[in-house]
Symmetry: C2
Subunit: 649 residues, 2 copies
Amino acid sequence: MEKLKEYVSVKDEDHFYHQGAVELLIFNFLLILTILTIWLFKNHRFRFLHETGGAMLYGLVMGLIIRYVTKSPDVESGTVYECEKLKSGPSTLLINITNQVYEYQYKREISHHNVNGHQGNTMLQKMTFDPSIFFNILLPPIIFHAGYSLKKRHFFRNLGSILTYAFLGTAISCIVIGLIMYGFVKAMVHIGQLKQWEFHFTDCLFFGSLMSATDPVTVLAIFHELNVDTDLYTLLFGESVLNDAVAIVLTHSISIYSPKENPNAFDAAAFFQSVGNFLGIFAGSFAMGSSYAVVTALISFMHLTKFTKLCEFPMLETGLFFLLSWSAFLSAEAAGLTGIVAVLFCGVTQAHYTYNNLSADSKMRTKQLFEFMNFLAENVIFCYMGLALFTFQNHIFNPLFIFGALVAVFVARASNIYPLSFLLNLGRKQKIPRTFQHMMMFSGLRGAIAFALAIRDTDSQPKQMMFSTALLVVFFTVWVCGGGTTAMLTWLQIRSVLVGVDPDEDLKARAVSQSAPNLDKNTTKAESAWLFRIWYGFDHKYLKPLLTHAGPPLTSTLPEWCNPVARILTSPRAYGDQLKDGDTDYIINNDELTENYESSAHIAVPAQDSTASPQATGKEDIQEGDLGLGGYKLQLQPTAGQPQKNSWA
Amino acid sequence: MEKLKEYVSVKDEDHFYHQGAVELLIFNFLLILTILTIWLFKNHRFRFLHETGGAMLYGLVMGLIIRYVTKSPDVESGTVYECEKLKSGPSTLLINITNQVYEYQYKREISHHNVNGHQGNTMLQKMTFDPSIFFNILLPPIIFHAGYSLKKRHFFRNLGSILTYAFLGTAISCIVIGLIMYGFVKAMVHIGQLKQWEFHFTDCLFFGSLMSATDPVTVLAIFHELNVDTDLYTLLFGESVLNDAVAIVLTHSISIYSPKENPNAFDAAAFFQSVGNFLGIFAGSFAMGSSYAVVTALISFMHLTKFTKLCEFPMLETGLFFLLSWSAFLSAEAAGLTGIVAVLFCGVTQAHYTYNNLSADSKMRTKQLFEFMNFLAENVIFCYMGLALFTFQNHIFNPLFIFGALVAVFVARASNIYPLSFLLNLGRKQKIPRTFQHMMMFSGLRGAIAFALAIRDTDSQPKQMMFSTALLVVFFTVWVCGGGTTAMLTWLQIRSVLVGVDPDEDLKARAVSQSAPNLDKNTTKAESAWLFRIWYGFDHKYLKPLLTHAGPPLTSTLPEWCNPVARILTSPRAYGDQLKDGDTDYIINNDELTENYESSAHIAVPAQDSTASPQATGKEDIQEGDLGLGGYKLQLQPTAGQPQKNSWA
């Protein structure tokens, strides 16, 4: 009794004074190591191992150490106790043990076959995050940053292609992986490695949907560093950002697809319910994210029409921006929608409207804040992935399943990229060249989202097998495909610093393109111009003047009878400022947009031509610099221009 | 059985898809409200309710709503179960309930009398943070920011007084509160409200130590806004920062003071053990914090002597800075020291050395990042304090004890400030005027640290009573003292924008003091100059050249035989740059320091003279602007100069 009390009091002390400190310190140590390694690599222009690959490697080594060096398993933790009086699992359990009452918190339900897997030591248990941390804390800043830093001009120019790859491509990828995996599962059942009833076709589709989320963060970082063709960059970036959203909602829809009778038979009602669910959740999340951004834009806009000026207090402005964006995520989650999708579109809308209203100081603050959070979160996730290989306690590695998954992932990527590119090229004036298609095929890396989706449910054996396999696929693609990017770019002769672009010449070209952006005139229609033009017209005429102090005054765009209302709603600055605005400065009107697009398209299409399209790349970079630095462009360029270069992915 | 399964699966769904989203959303909502209120107040120059007071008020209202509007208590949660097979409390408990295994995680031990207090509803339970979140997540950024933004010149000038108030003052305050509370406890026992054995003298001292942590964040924010005399500002700021550290270590030392026999009798051995523990933990934490900062300084310094340049990658630099500073906190915690003390001195050392080595971009990034984190964390804590009044489920409000605490807090503050000021004035050339003493007395607000120390242990009834009382004292002091700051300043005729300082004239005075800082010469010795001079000489000659690229080259300060080593260690920039450095620029040598100090001191001492000491205030502000903006001082001043004004507290 005395001894027990002492034991508990030590535990209590530990609980209060340094709970979690050691575990957090391990992560800090891994991140510091990663940063120092990146620094070293950047200096040696060593591109075979990207920071994410490095973070994963360090995580792996640390996992190995924790697994085999720390103290032996806690004997108590594998025992299952019977409590007959309990009828269900309450969220908080009070247990009387030899006259002391202890409070226990509900963690999760465990399948009977996993009970033995819990005999790991305390350290291993502590190093295992709650999966909800990924979804609520680590992913939102990454996804928001992706949306906030989206290169609008190039994105909208390639909108049709990006949407096709993201929606149709992800669906194709999901079905192809599902079918191939189903074949492998059948084979495994045949040779006796698996029981038929354990693995349904819907499980295969679930695996297909989570493996369809591509995360070419490594590839894009290298692209940026090497100044690779902007259209290729945009296609890949746009596809991967939207495809994460699609894959997340798809995974959720498949997981709730529950046919009434035979789980292997097709149930039309349940199928359409899932499709409806997919569309509903996607649309709802989109609306939720955008409305929060619109609210932010309105609040930040108020300072010009009303007596108060929020932009005089950059800290409040930044705080409000941050909190409202995070609320978009949380509200979507609380409403049963998908927060990640909401926060992505919130980011896009914030960049499009609110950004214009922010003070110069807040522009810089918000960008740097999200850039920093993105950097940390990304490296934490990759470190954790490395750790998870050894610290996760219920791995099921099945060689046949893993082999099947690797085959399926590549076949699915091929049947997504090549046929869709062929179809798109039928409609596109600016074709997607073969080399770009090969590069996109090669860039189908799996990363944080696939991992987070897989770790969310590891209760049953099929789910555990999927998680272990997904982890290995991530390792393989990040190290092999990520490491081979530079070699692949050279081999495919894609325009970059490595092939045909002299950095100095590129700089000169940028200067030229800046001073005379429209020298080369051409009037062919742009690919997605019709779609874009309708949206752009509406946005430029009504939304921008309403939500920002950019664009023409509403008094000139609305019909005359609306004038009294329009006058109230229009910012006084809009009358004079419209041409100085960052957004109107590259899209002045539809015709010019098209010309602009075509002029660079015409140079860019024959991509083997090594000096092609300096204008497009150059202008993009300037545009991005402008987004990053707001009004300080000229003064700060020497030092502050750097961060975009290094960590904008 | 079927129903149970359904119940659990719904719980699981909830667990995965929006665990914590609603609770976080509530906090986001409160913070957004707070920000909007601050914005409104700033516009109306309304200073009776500071942002922290506002945050607390909103938290209070929200707590009221959650308590009385949300759904009725969970019936299960008050029941205590018996498990005879369990012999101790394992960290993870696996329980078999009607054929399903559930995992429960150890949370804490509960006293028998608290079991009924746990019958609150789930929402209330969810809104109650783990106290370790305060210590590990919310407090470190606030304390680091305080250290990082310390105004070095004024701080060192008043070092002796600040140390006296912080160490001696906190000890006096702790003992006085302890004694008064012991008297009240005796009275409570006498009238039968309390059993003798429940409340020892050590408990009273424990309460005294936690109530001794002052947090004049409200007052300082107003001081900054009103441009109040810099010496008063520095005395208050320096005292409160150090006194937090002292109070935290003191609380820990008292909590481990356990006399062998009679708990009310004095045990010399146990007492000296506690004193030794106090000194050991304080010194250890100081060393831990400073060494991490020195490591950061060395890494950031490396870029000039070695081939690599970390400052070319501001993101990596900022990341490393952030992670190493946080590691200082975590390492101290993991080593059984006090992380808060470590992170405070880490901040001071980072500002003194590392800051000089950072790139201009990183200087701004780190400052804005910590400013932002400080802003958010502070408001979250004050919101939470408001919430806790209604959501915490084991409050014990005893009117006599609360009244006693309020009396004790004010008596203790008086017996700290007035006698110590008298003693200090005997030694100080620049006396601390009576009005300053009254203002310091009035500014003894209790805030985040007192609350965090009190909430850390709420298991026993005396501790719960202390927590409830501490919470009310915080409310009272923040609203009454915080709200009355402006009135008090006017009444005491302390030099500020309200009394005697015309903002325009002040601006002119600053310009004058900037162009001719040493017109008025006077050679009297400064108060703490002898202490400071020894340290300054060592720092300037050896540490600065070794750790930064500021200061004279080591080759000139070290003896000649050290030259080969000195040449390796000195930054090439040090030879030419020494006079351009931000730090040497206001402390060029000891004599000038003293003159400088005396010149402003002579103007400042007769503080009733309303135009006194514009030089000190003006220069401080410039110095601070310089710290904030690095090389961009001139270009950015119009907009970026604003954040310091608004939120630098």
